[in-house]
Structures are given as C-alpha cells and as structure tokens.
C-alpha cells in the first residue's frame, strides 16, 4: 500500500516540476539583443555582405556593447551606396538615436547628412575611412597609408629584387575621393620609391562590380603583358583579380597582393594564386568604436583618430588566420 502512495507522491512531484519547467523554458527563439540595453541607442551602419571582416566587426561591436550597456542596432546598407547610407542616417536621426556609427564612403554626400544629424544632437563616429575627416567626428580604423605601404612592401618581397611591372587597382566608390585614394596610394608610392626596378604600369579605378574587376584585369593584362604584379586595394575586387589570372592562365607569372580577408581570397592564397593580403582587424575596430561611442555618450571627449592593427596573411601564416576565423564560424548577426 505504501508503495502505491509513494508512486502517487512521486507522480505529483514530477508533474509539479514539469509545470514549473514551463515557466523556465524559452519561448520562440528571438534575435539576440544586448541584454543590458538601456536608453543608449546606437545605430551602426554595416554592409549587407557576408565576409569575415564584417562578421568580426559585428562580433566586436556586440561584445563591447554588452559591456558598455549600449543597445546597438545594425542597419544594413549596400556597399558604397551613399543614398542608402544617407537614408539610413536620416532615419536614425528621426528615430532620435543617441549615436550613429558608420564607415563613410562618399565624403560630400555623407558629410551633409551627418552634419544634419549632428545638429539634431546625435553623436557621430566613423571607422575604417581615415580619409574622411569631419570636425568633431572621431574615427577608428586601420591606417590607410600603412596599408598601402605594407602592400607595396609585400609586392617588393614577392618580386625578390627582380624587375617588376606593377598594376595598381584602387577601389573607386562612385566618384573621386582623391584624398582617400591618395593615402593608400601614397603609402604604396613611398614604399616603392627606393625600388627603381619596379615600375608602375598604371593606377586603375575599380568600381563596385565584380565583373568589372574581372574585365579590367583582363584588359590590363592584354594591354601590358609584362605586368608581373598586381596590387588591389579593394577587398571584394581581390578575389575577382585572382579569378581573372586563373582564367587567363597566368598563375605563377603574376603576383597578386590584395586587401581584405574574404574567404575566397584566403582560398586563392592557399592555392598560390594570391601571394599576400593585407587585412584590417574587424573585431578590434568594432570594439574600439563602441568604446569611444560609450565615452562620448557619457559626456567625455575622445581622440580624433584611433588606429587599429593590420595583418598580413600569406601562405605561411594562413593557419593563424584559420585560428582567428575558423571556416563557417562567423559571428552571430545581431539582426
């Protein structure tokens, strides 16, 4: 008899635990937000592309935002689309956010809307475009001159003292931003200056179209078959250049020094098509920009410019990259 009653009691306990468990279960999975969000609302404009730089950047932003108790809203805009960026900024202004963080592409178009935002009392911070300067707007990112210089040094190293015929592809974001182009280019030119054996066949603008980069590369090679090194400062254009080299069958005879750490770029390095790539530290940029944002929102001043590390990846240290960014392990999208 007592066993029967014990069974009853046990059943009641189990049922009670199950009922209590209902209130501890998660409901429908919802997008992750900063758990400690308060009234500090920051809009961060990001590209709606899927690559390791932006994944790392988002990850750095989210991690730091949780520490700083800031609600971060990621707004995706197409790469180098100033109209979309301006619209997103204007929406953010109307939404009465506390701060806007963005990577400015077109200085004039963006400046006017950012000015409007600042007049509305919204703090502005930029990242990864040290050519864009606006008074009172702090910026975080890699040093463009250093990027250009490092790329050139990698090209020199690849040639190994041999004569070089170099083509330089500069990413052109809609219209001329000579100051921007100049920083990287200046770095390149200054690094190449002591090396007379290396000549520059041309400096070309790449647009936003990958097919355009492919066509441009073929045209360059067709017009100047002596080119044996190509420098590409555009992260999306770098793998396109590599593919054009592969398609034209000149792998091994032309060295490519690229920019960015897209997965395709890394694969080309592994295959020996691309010799090196210079990469920014997206996570460090994201972390640093949010740190500065929190400082600004608290009423304190920050330095105008903060540089973040850059990394050079070749076939020799590709494992380091894999460790930092394992395949398929992109940071969770907070949107």
């Amino acid at each position: 008899m007592k066993h029967i009653f014990y069974a009853f009691i046990g059943l009641i306990v189990v049922m009670t635990v199950m009922i209590l468990g209902i209130y501890t279960l998660d409901g429908v999975p919802k997008p992750k937000v900063s758990e400690n969000s308060t009234e500090k609302h920051v809009v961060v404009l990001v590209q709606n592309t899927k690559d390791s730089f932006w994944d790392a950047f988002r990850s750095g932003v989210i991690t730091e935002a949780e520490k700083q108790n800031i609600l971060v809203e990621f707004v995706e805009v197409p790469p180098f689309d100033s109209d979309a960026a301006a619209l997103a900024i204007e929406r953010a202004v109307l939404s009465k956010v506390n701060a806007i963080v963005l990577q400015p592409i077109n200085g004039e178009r963006t400046s006017s809307v950012l000015d409007y935002a600042r007049k509305s009392g919204i703090h502005i911070l930029t990242f990864e475009n040290d050519a864009f300067t606006m008074e009172g707007v702090p910026t975080v990112g890699s040093n463009s001159w250093l990027v250009g210089s490092t790329m050139a040094k990698m090209a020199i190293s690849t040639l190994g003292g041999a004569e070089g015929r170099m083509a330089i592809l500069i990413n052109n974001k809609e219209s001329d931003d000579t100051r921007y182009k100049s920083l990287k280019l200046q770095g390149m030119l200054e690094a190449l200056a002591p090396h007379d054996e290396i000549t520059i066949s041309g400096i070309h603008n790449v647009d936003n179209s990958l097919l355009g980069v492919d066509k441009l590369t073929r045209d360059i090679l067709r017009k100047d078959p002596t080119i044996n090194v190509i420098l590409c400062t555009d992260d999306r254009g770098t793998p396109a250049v590599a593919q054009a080299i592969v398609d034209t069958g000149v792998v091994g005879s032309i060295s490519i020094i690229g920019f960015g750490n897209m997965e395709q770029t890394m694969n080309y390095i592994e295959r020996g098509v691309i010799q090196a790539t210079i990469s920014s530290d997206g996570a460090a940029i994201g972390k640093e920009v949010i740190t500065k944002t929190a400082t600004v929102l608290s009423g304190m001043s920050v330095s105008e410019s903060t540089s973040t590390p850059i990394y050079t990846y070749t076939d020799d240290n590709l494992d380091d990259f894999r460790k930092r960014f394992p395949k398929g392990d992109a940071p969770e999208d907070s949107q």
């Binding site: 008899m1 007592k2 937000v33």
Partner: protein
C-alpha cells in the same frame, strides 16, 4: 502514523484525492503549454497589428493634411487631429514597451519618427493658419517626405517581422506538434499509470476482505481447523481479522468440547448397554425357560396321574402362560390368543383366590376382529393391573370383565373391574402418557408385577404397532374402572422392534 494505520475511509479519500490531483496537474500542464504557445503566436502578430493600424492612420493623416493645406477644409483638419489622437496612444505604447528584440527597437524608432512627423505637420498647419505659404510649403514637403520614409520603414519592418514570424511560426508549429505529441503521451501515460495504481490500490483494499471471505467459506464448509493469518493493518479490517480469528478459535474449542462430551456419553452408553447385556445374559444363563416349561408340564401330568384335576389344571394354565411368553414379545399375537392367555391367567388367579375373584369374557367368537394382531402380552398386564390395583384390596369379591367390541374403524378391547378405581392423578398420568411422544415417556414406575411389563410398555408397544397415539381410554370411579384399548382396524401385523 503509518499508511496501514489509517481508517478505510481516510485511505479512500486520500487515494481519490491524489488521483484527482494528478489528473488535474496533467490537465493544468497541457493547458499551460498550449497557453504558452498561443501567447507566443499572439506575440508574433501583436506588433504587426499595431504597425498595420499605425500604417493606415499615417496614410490617412497625410491625406487629410494635404487636403487641409491645399483646400483649407476644416473636416480634413478635424479628421487629421482625430487620427493624431488615435495614433498617439499607439506611439506611446510603442515607445514604452519593453525592448526584448530588434523588433521592439524598430517599433520605438517608428514611434520617434511619427513624433517628428507630427511635429512637422503641426508646424505646417500653424504656418497655414498664419498664411505663411513658404513656411507651410516647406514643412509640408518635409512632413510628406518623412511620412513616406516612415511608411517605407514600416513596410520594411513588417516584411522583416513577417520573415521572422515565418521562422517563428515554423518553430511554434514544431513546438505545437511536439507539445501535442507530448501531451497525448502524457495523457496516456497518466491514465495508464493511474489505472495501474487504481488496480493496485483496489487489490490492496480488497485482498484482506477476500481472504476474510475465503476464511468464512472454509468455516461454512466445516473446516474449523484453519489458521487465520493475522494482518498488519490496524484499521477496520484489522479489527475484523482479530474478531474473526478469535471467533474461529472459540468455535473450534466449543466443537472440541462437544465432541469430547459426545464421546464420553457414547462411551458411557456403551458401557451401560454392555452391562445390561451382561445382566441379561447372566439372567438367561441362570434360567432356562424350556426347562421350566417342561418341569411345569411334568407337574401337570403327575397331578393328572394322581387324579388331581385342580392341580393339573393349575399347572396346565401356568405352562400355557409360560409357553405364551416364550414366543417372544417381538411376535405379534391375535386378539383371540391374547384372550386365551388372559383366560389362563385369570384361571390361575381364580385358583389362588377362589371366590374373591370372578371374571368374564364378552366377545363374538365368530368375529373376524378376533384375528386382529396386536403386540403380544397386551391384555395380561392390564388384567394384572386391574386385579392388583383394582380388586386385590377389596373385602368383597371383585369382578374383572374383558369385553371385545367393534366399531367401523376400531376394535375396542375393554378391561373392566369393579375395584376401588384409579385416582384422578393416576388417570391423568396414564392419559398423558398415552398421547405423549415416545421420547417423552417417563420411566414406568410399575414394571408389572409378574410379567415385568408395565402399562407404559404396553401403551408404547400398542402405539408403535398401530402407529397412533390415542390407544387408551380410561374411565374410573369407585366400583367401576374400564381401560379401553382403541385399536384401529386395517393395520397390518408388524414385528415390534
């Protein structure tokens, strides 16, 4: 207090309460899971409902604003403000709701945008009232632009929400499916388990009762040697067990006592029977009736030879009586034979007492009733009683008459004397014994002086023979006593046991 110490009613109440509680908990669980899922579903579309309402109102507001600014239509202005009043609670809700996801963040953005729009619209209206064309034109353009921006934002937001809800709905649908499956399993399991426990509990409850019933059945079948196994329960069943066990023990002891007493009684009876048998054998061994009969016959012959007819007749009557007795009480005799025997006896008495005794027989010698059988030695004891108790003490001569009469159904054999009569108490005793059941017969105080057969024995044998209780009628007074035997006709002769 242990469980088996509880009263039966308490156990039942507790058991049913627990069963009910389990079923209620199962139902509660199912209700809560479904409610949670329903809430999730509701939450999914709650934002869309608000956004849809806001979307519509914004469109209407812009239309009304444009109509007022271009046509100065007061109805449009009124409609505009009505929509403003309607939308402001929504925007307050959107701004103050707890932010749990990006959807809530965008709702808050939408609310802030709407506030900006309303601000610009208000400025346009004010400028219109102030007839400041440039100003209200500028503000209207800004308001229009912002209105379109907000509507686009809401469009994107609802699209994003719809996509998220689609994923969420898939998750909810899966959860509903799993919850349904789990609930069905839970229901079946709970029902099965509770039924199992019910069967187990009922078995536990009824087992002692069943065992007790089995014990009772054994008792009914006469098995008093069974051993009632005590139960651990101290409730009503325990009390029943204890009482039943003691009852069985008492019955067993009582039966043993009865059996012992019966055995002792049987033993005593056997002993007495054996003693009587021994006495009888002893008596029989002492007296050989045939020797006595022969002796008497020789005496009669000697008397005849010596020309002594009185002695010869006396001895012949004695031999006749003796011979009659030798035939055994278990052999029925006819009435005629009884009469002859009674005559011989009366002749002996006459020889002894002479004129003090007169006797007569009144009967139809041709009557077939005389062939009726009755137990041997019926008349002689009665005649003897009539002489001993009736006329032996008389100073005058006594008369004994034996009369045989016949009716349609009976043969009446009367023994009549003119003696002192029978006392009423004796008559009542005789009459009571005449109709009393056989086992009520008292011990006959008059064994019979010569035959050893008393009146009770005669009556008992007559009743057994004729299978009727009423065999004797007594009429007595001073100088007249008549004992009448009422013998039914048509009774076949039987051997007395």
């Amino acid at each position: 207090m242990k469980i088996h110490d509880l009263k039966y009613r308490t156990k039942l109440i507790v058991f049913f309460s627990l069963s009910l509680l389990i079923i209620l908990l199962a139902c509660l669980y199912m209700y809560l899971t479904l409610q949670r899922l329903t809430q999730d579903t509701t939450d999914m579309f709650e934002k869309n409902v608000v956004l849809t309402d806001v979307y519509r109102k914004l469109g209407l507001m812009q239309t009304d604003l444009e109509a007022y600014l271009t046509t100065n239509d007061s109805d449009s202005l009124l409609s505009f403000y009505n929509n403003v009043n309607a939308i402001q609670p929504l925007t307050r809700t959107m701004k103050t709701s707890t932010i749990s996801d990006m959807g809530d963040v965008r709702l808050k953005n939408t609310a802030n945008m709407i506030e900006n729009y309303l601000s610009e619209a208000e400025k346009a209206i004010i400028a219109k009232r102030g007839r400041n064309i440039d100003s209200y034109t500028e503000y209207f353009a800004l308001a229009k632009r912002h209105n379109q921006m907000i509507l686009r934002y809401i469009d994107e937001l609802m699209s994003a929400t719809l996509i998220a809800n689609t994923d969420g709905y898939s998750a909810i649908a899966e959860r509903i499916r799993l919850a349904t499956l789990f609930n069905i399993t839970l229901t079946a399991s709970v029902i099965g388990l509770v039924m199992f426990l019910i069967v187990g509990f009922s078995r536990e409850i009824t087992r002692p009762v069943t065992e007790l019933a089995q014990y009772a059945k054994e008792i009914t079948n006469g098995n008093y040697q069974l051993d009632v196994v005590p139960t651990r329960q101290s409730d009503e069943i325990g009390i029943l067990y204890d009482a039943f066990s003691r009852m069985v023990s008492s019955v067993r002891d009582y039966i043993s006592t009865i059996q012992e007493n019966a055995r002792l009684e049987a033993s005593n009876l056997k002993m007495q029977t054996a003693l009587r048998e021994a006495e009888l054998l002893a008596l029989q061994s002492q007296v050989n009736p045939h020797f006595i009969f022969n002796t008497i016959n020789i005496g009669a012959r000697i008397a005849h030879l010596q020309n002594d007819p009185v002695t010869c007749e006396y001895l012949e009557n004695t031999a006749s009586i003796f011979r009659y007795n030798l035939r055994g009480l278990d052999t029925p005799a006819t009435i005629m034979e009884e009469i002859q025997n009674a005559k011989a006896y009366l002749s002996l008495l006459k020889t002894r007492f002479g004129d003090q005794l007169e006797y007569a027989f009144e009967y139809d010698a041709d009557s077939i009733a005389l062939a009726t059988h009755l137990p041997r030695m019926t008349l002689q004891p009665l005649v003897e009683n009539a002489y001993i108790h009736g006329i032996s003490g008389l100073e005058r001569p006594g008369e004994i008459t034996i009369r045989i009469e016949e009716t349609d159904s009976h043969i009446l054999v009367s023994i009549i004397d003119n003696g002192v009569g029978i006392p009423d108490a004796t008559i009542q005793r005789i009459e009571a014994e005449a109709v009393a059941p056989l086992h009520h017969h008292t011990h006959d105080p008059e064994h019979g002086h010569t035959t050893g057969i008393g009146l009770s024995n005669v009556l008992q044998r007559l009743r057994l023979h004729f299978m009727t209780l009423e065999v004797l009628t007594v009429v007595s007074r001073e100088g007249f006593t008549a004992l009448t035997l009422n013998l039914p006709k048509g009774v076949p002769p039987c051997i007395e046991s």
